[in-house]
Symmetry: C2
Subunit: 590 residues, 2 copies
């Protein structure tokens, strides 16, 4: 028997279905989605929670004439299923045909590639404005989660949206969760609105100038279609507040919402992960254990997250254990940075843990509120470096982002011993802000000369003192540098120097000058974008001298879902490629 889903090739096909068939369709979607998720992993909770709402939206409106923007797009699976991409969910061989994010290269129904929170309303405002200039009249629909409302951009968007003309619908998917639990004053108001079926007079959205509609049960197609149909008649900006259940229809996900926000492949029957448990030590746990011990001794230590508490291991139990010394400010990286600046200025010792990709949401705060004011706060940057994930989560931009801001000390530890040494120093010093680039997921241990104090003159570690070629292998590219050094020795009988720079910011002029004595080439290796990064500073340093400099790292490009190994190949970062490149320069063939 042909399933209903098999008949849906575009949203137009939805409109032929009866209410009963629509119900059946959502059941089929949930089944297929869960089956795929159990194999590929993905954002389980938000996607299961938005099946009925998305189906109702596509039933009432006419994509791609009416235009949808899904915030962060962690709820876009149903949208993809209904807009010509169902095979990527029903046919295991085609699972890799679509990503977990909206992507204009996949479909005309996807307007933007997105992956950072709180931007959908602003993007939708732009679509609406352009439509108005064209005197057209179709609907623009922004779908955003309650968790995204902690991000300031959502409010900038709401503030502007309320003044626009013509149809604009903002769907607030209120599942009472961010990645972890929500934090912030506005969530009291959402609670009040839920408690009063949207009837409370004190209404955040009305206060911002919106017409407001409430959907009590975001899994009830009748109610959803009824409200969306009403809104379809309205030609001004409207908020539709839809209450959903994160993980809807899958018991394990409904019960442990934070755990099931994102899951690796799992047994559908028992909800157990198929991912093998880490047999190695991680920087997440290393940091967690260090901070726990430190926080117990020193009540002025405070760990801050912007919505991703597990980044340094703070699960719910641990958060409850340190209610005063752990703060989740919501998905609000800008605020987090200004907040830690304030804490540090008033005698606290804040440490903010954040993903490389998300730190860029706080550039202005890093520059002014933190660096200009020399507040002694610590920022730990996780998931930095070349990675195989989505183009919106790349970890190659944090070095250019931070190292070019005055007054920031940026450190790149090469191993766990150095990491802990830097972290301890950073938390105890009072001179200014320190950014530490966490070397990776699995810890690396090695015998290393520790500086203990990183406030003095920049001092690189010369691990191997050779000649002709010097390899400056930054942070978690230490091992790559070491491998290249060994390869050069073995294959070409070149006894290169190996240097661990330790510092991303500043120069160790003593070491750099000394290299001039018996080296012709300095090679910089950094696990990040070359443009604006560490290596270019070295090229500039030696620019007026005889020393040749070769900068290696990631190219300036957005790269979507490509294996790390393929990227290494493309960037000429494999050991033989690097060695060959070095040889060419030495031979003057370049």
């Amino acid at each position: 028997m042909k399933t209903l889903l098999q008949q849906i090739n575009s949203p137009t096909d939805l409109k032929k279905l009866s209410m009963q068939e629509l119900e059946q369709l959502t059941t089929e979607i949930r089944t297929q989605m869960l089956t795929r998720l159990s194999v590929t992993g993905g954002h389980v909770g938000s996607n299961l929670g938005m099946i009925e709402t998305t189906t109702a939206l596509h039933y009432v409106f006419n994509s791609p004439v009416d235009k949808f923007v899904f915030d962060v797009s962690h709820q876009c699976y149903t949208h993809k299923l209904l807009t010509g991409r169902k095979e990527a969910y029903t046919d295991p061989k085609q699972y890799d045909k679509v990503t977990g994010f909206t992507n204009p290269l996949e479909s005309e129904h996807d307007l933007f590639a997105v992956g950072h929170t709180s931007t959908a309303i602003s993007l939708a405002c732009g679509l609406a404005k352009a439509r108005n200039l064209q005197k057209a009249n179709y609907q623009i629909i922004a779908v955003t989660g309650d968790g995204a409302l902690s991000g300031g951009l959502a409010f900038e968007g709401l503030n502007n949206a309320a003044t626009l003309h013509g149809p604009l619908m903002i769907v607030i998917n209120d599942n009472q969760m961010s990645i972890a639990e929500n934090h912030g004053g506005i969530y009291q108001n959402l609670q009040l609105l839920r408690n009063t079926q949207g009837k409370a007079e004190c209404n955040l959205f009305k206060a911002m100038g919106f017409d407001y509609y409430f959907v009590q049960d975001g899994h009830n197609l009748n109610e959803l279609i009824d409200v969306f149909s009403k809104v379809k008649q309205i030609s001004h900006p409207v908020i539709v507040h839809v209450c959903t259940t994160k993980g809807k229809g899958y018991l394990f996900a409904e019960e442990e919402k934070e755990k099931w926000h994102y899951m690796a492949p799992f047994h559908q029957e028992n909800g157990l992960t198929l991912a093998k448990p880490n047999t190695y030590e991680t920087y997440e746990n290393l940091t967690r254990d260090y901070l726990i011990a430190k926080m117990k001794k020193d009540k002025s230590i405070v760990a801050i997250t912007a919505g991703t508490p597990k980044i340094f291991g703070f699960d719910k139990k641990l958060r409850d254990e340190f209610p005063e010394q752990f703060v989740d400010v919501g998905i609000a990286e800008g605020h987090a940075v200004s907040f830690v600046s304030g804490i540090a200025k008033n005698g606290g010792k804040p440490v903010f843990g954040v993903s490389s990709s998300f730190l860029q949401r706080a550039y202005d705060q890093l520059s002014h509120d933190l660096a200009l004011n020399k507040s002694p706060a610590v920022i730990l940057v996780y998931f930095s470096g070349i990675s195989s994930g989505n183009q919106t989560h790349m970890g190659i931009f944090d070095i250019p982002l931070t190292m070019n801001i005055p007054n920031l000390t940026c450190l790149a530890p090469s191993c766990k011993e150095e990491y802990l040494d830097m972290l301890e120093w950073a938390l105890e010093q009072t001179d200014g802000p320190v950014i530490i680039r966490v070397p990776g997921i699995q810890t690396l241990s090695r015998k290393v000369e520790l500086l203990t104090d990183y406030s003095n003159q920049v001092k690189y570690e010369t691990v191997i003192s050779g000649n002709q070629v010097a390899i400056l292998a930054l942070g978690n590219f230490y091992q790559l540098g070491k491998d290249v050094q060994a390869y050069l020795n073995k294959a070409y009988n070149i006894e290169a120097s190996l240097i661990n720079p330790r510092y991303i910011t500043g120069y160790d002029k003593v070491t750099l000058e000394k290299l001039k004595e018996n080296h012709q080439l300095v090679v910089t290796l950094e696990n990040g974008q070359i443009d604006g990064g560490f290596g270019e500073k070295i090229a500039r340093y030696y620019g007026t001298s005889q020393m040749k400099v070769l900068n290696l790292g990631a190219e300036k490009a957005f790269i979507d879902n490509l294996s790390v190994q393929t990227q290494y190949q493309r960037f000429h970062l494999t050991v033989p490629q690097i060695a060959e490149n070095i040889l060419k320069v030495l031979q003057g063939l370049d």
Copy 2:
């Protein structure tokens, strides 16, 4: 007779005064402030409007035990007058002793150096959190304007503030103005609250979880002191909504609020400016006239500002003339960038005019919403380059900020002809986002080879084809490069090449390779920070070749109120310094 102001050396002295004396003091402050403003210029409107509120705050609270954070600090003059710095307002010889911004180097009563809007609440949250960890109980006071509420960070701050424990007071100075008029949905709610004396049930601040107080007349010391005294007894976060008049007490400023937001020196009697009118053409007017003509012909052109409409000449009259084609989104640069991306994706032709310093508030949106999505929007960056202003308004960071983001085409026109040529192309192309670095205030005209199409391969303009030394003079450093070229010729008989790179992003490999034939040194001149900028890319390009490269530009540092000429000296950017530097490298003495 000794004035009251002469007796005030710290806030403690205020507390000895009677209400009548306090009234008299505010009159004295207003007189002194106006006199100084008429001589030095400054932020007239907001400072005149906050005299009574600031006096009442310092009367009721105990700075520096209680801690004040003034948002953007364009209202801090009274605070400075009352905290030991009155001579900088009463004694003309000492006018230059304090800046127009809060500054911890000046006084223990200033907690932060700030100058970008919407950060005060977040900074205050940090101070409060650190206080709580210390189990102390003093008051933290954030003072922020209604205009600043359009910035998302203010909402991130409010959202977090509502959840904090202990005393925290956020004073909303509602003068019904941003720099220009306010824009956005929230301003309807502020209007409703003003109309109902703060009694309306639908209250933005209550919706965000705050206890809320209203001050009808922010120039009535009795009312202010009464409310602040009540709040002093409360040990949880509170909003105090104070209605003030921008420009209060100076008729001209009250009547023309936008004009008097910031004023150059003026005749106090008639309000006329003392600044000589520009006798030259400005890029502001050039852009305005270009856009007016363009908008009349093409209804898809839309100009966007984030609260600074006059940056490209859009005064009130002109804004009213193009109500659909000009959008002020409020002080919300992040939203502005996502908004223009949406407009461009839907067939509009948006152009966003923004200050170099403020563009950094939109880094994440530049990267993801705009560049990753290749939306063909145009951004015009004003006030870029070395300047003599406040450290929070520096124009040297925009090149490192933008050029290291993939998919952005960044252009640096050398003169007005090239600027208009690039602007016309940028608005009509559909390939992706283009950033144009507006060359300065006064236009420069020269005979220049125009490319018309900047989408093809990067092509530098070789203005003078010489040998030995090549000067790559970027954008508005074209004239400096030309002067250096002439100086080298005259003083040292060196016939250097002079090149206008036109493009900040990308390499003209043909030209760069050709230089290798008969040049030993390439000198890069950029009016911006060297670190992360244009020159370092050139150093990297030639890193593995024999070519020497000398990068010149601004040092990586925050610099406060220093003349441009002094900075040029410090950065070795005067013509003789540059020439000397070049000679040294050529002689191998470096």
